[in-house]
């Protein structure tokens, strides 16, 4: 059986949980890189301990429009802080660090006002900072607009690091922008990426058929990071993952047949990663 690399779980929702536990206000999580690096270090430490072989730097939403809108920091400042904090935690453990790039909240022309050049420059700035600070690879994830993904990917491959691309799909097997699995492969594979797949939006059950479709249509290594599932609220109003970690690990089992990288997205935490670790160990033996 081929080697499956264990990724981490959610960064955003997990950091908010940590912030809440410390009585700190929920803010765009990239701010914690500078204002509360101890939260970021805690999360990276938990994932590394749970068995993640690759962890994400807390850089997903640290793009210049967002950073400029709600802080006086610069993008390199935020990204350097994210990478340095994570590197300190994983130093000497063999765990790799991956720069995370998320979609912009602005839409590309002609649907919104963002010009393609401007979009490329925004991702270029994040990549330059992240690669310069010492990330080992790049994960571009949670995109629903394949054109925006293409622009970010074209920038990312320039740096020579392995680039993994992950779109987010709806129940009907397409992204909100109507991009299919085939469209995704046709657009991204020629750019020379390392891996392709999906994350977020759906829990394991609904995401499985889509990752299977990827496996039928491409020989590229596949990445799979589904959500923990739809949450239910506890009586005090806080969200708790509906799927227990064990159930999650059980539900993603069929995907082990075709994926090379596996982890969780929104709602999943280190407990989930531990369960996947156990699952991988069972399948190995």
């Amino acid at each position: 059986m081929k080697k499956i690399t264990l990724l981490d779980g959610a960064v955003g929702t997990s950091l908010w949980n940590i912030a809440e536990a410390h009585g700190v206000k929920k803010e765009p999580v990239w701010k914690y890189n500078i204002e509360h690096p101890e939260f970021v270090a805690e999360l990276v430490g938990k994932y590394a301990e749970a068995g993640s072989e690759i962890v994400l730097a807390n850089t997903f939403g640290a793009n210049s429009p967002a950073v400029r809108r709600s802080s006086s920091y610069s993008v390199p400042e935020v990204i350097n802080a994210a990478v340095n904090t994570a590197k300190e935690v994983i130093s000497g453990t063999g765990v790799k660090l991956c720069l995370a790039l998320g979609p912009l909240t602005q839409l590309l022309e002609p649907y919104g006002d963002m010009e393609k050049d401007e979009c490329a420059a925004i991702y270029g700035e994040m990549l330059k900072a992240g690669v310069g600070a010492g990330c080992d690879m790049v994960l571009i994830q949670t995109f629903m607009d394949l054109e925006m993904m293409r622009i970010a990917t074209a920038e990312a491959v320039k740096y020579g690091l392995p680039v993994m691309c992950s779109m987010t799909f709806e129940k009907n097997g397409k992204t909100m922008f109507g991009n299919s699995v085939q469209d995704t492969i046709d657009t991204l594979a020629p750019l020379g990426i390392h891996a392709i797949g999906l994350n977020c939006s759906l829990g394991p059950e609904l995401a499985l058929p889509i990752i299977k479709e990827f496996s039928e249509k491409t020989d590229l290594p596949l990445l799979f990071k589904p959500n923990a599932g739809k949450p239910i609220l506890s009586p005090d109003g806080t969200a708790s993952a509906e799927y227990t970690a064990k159930q999650f690990a059980n539900d993603i089992k069929p995907a082990l047949e075709y994926v090379s990288y596996i982890g969780g997205c929104c709602g999943s935490d280190a407990v989930y990663i531990k369960e996947i670790r156990k699952l991988l160990e069972q399948t190995d033996s």
């Binding site: 765009p28 919104g112 397409k174 922008f177 109507g178 739809k230 609220l233």
Partner: protein
């Protein structure tokens, strides 16, 4: 093809400039602005909305059609005001506090406008107080709350609470949507309606406005 059909057709194709010109022509030729709105612009958006619901088209097509609709609406606005034509209802919409995701919310806004409703866009990271105060100050019949994150959906319960406290629950309907929520959650927090897509949200909003007008 009548000029109204032409407006609808061009709107569906997202030809904003053509829509604007055709609306001007239609009004100049003596067709009532209300008819141009209903049988031209809204008719076109209706087709878009139905096709979106059945996955025949996706977000990009809706976005360009909505842009064409806006261009046409801007031409019509002064005429409609002059004739005292009022919107079928008024809605305030926003993404709840702590949540900055706005693509879904914007889609719903476009679909609501596509049904001829007036929409006050409160943007993202909107506090429960702002939703309720806007509904009171602007006489909205509906509050629409969006949440993508599981960590922010709880704010919707607060919106319902604040509306109760303000004593407006008998005249304001609260609708919710977004990846984090579902029907069961809607019932649990005491909101009035959950819809799973933007087009259905607009249908439900129109229905509520009709009920409240009776």
């Amino acid at each position: 093809m009548s000029i109204l059909d032409e407006i609808s057709e061009n709107l569906q194709k997202g030809k904003a400039k053509a829509v604007k010109e055709l609306v001007e022509q239609a009004v100049e030729s003596g067709i009532s602005p209300e008819t141009v709105l209903k049988d031209g612009l809204l008719a076109g958006m209706n087709v878009i909305s139905e096709k979106f619901k059945t996955n025949e088209i996706y977000v990009p097509e809706v976005l360009v059609a909505a842009r064409a609709m806006n261009m046409g609406s801007q031409v019509l606005k002064p005429y409609l005001e002059k004739e005292g034509v009022r919107a079928a209802g008024r809605v305030c919409i926003g993404t709840v506090q702590g949540d900055l995701h706005d693509i879904g919310k914007n889609l719903v806004k476009m679909m609501l406008e596509g049904k001829g409703l007036e929409v006050i866009d409160l943007g993202t990271d909107v506090s429960p107080e702002t939703f309720v105060q806007t509904a009171i100050d602007q006489n909205c019949q509906i509050i629409c709350c969006s949440a993508l994150l599981t960590t922010t959906m709880g704010v919707m319960a607060e919106v319902v609470e604040k509306a109760k406290e303000a004593g407006i629950r008998d005249r304001v309907r609260i609708m919710i949507g977004g990846a984090a929520v579902d029907e069961a959650f809607c019932a649990r927090v005491g909101a009035d309606k959950y819809t799973s897509d933007a087009a259905s949200a607009a249908d439900a909003a129109v229905e509520f406005c009709r009920e409240l007008a009776q």
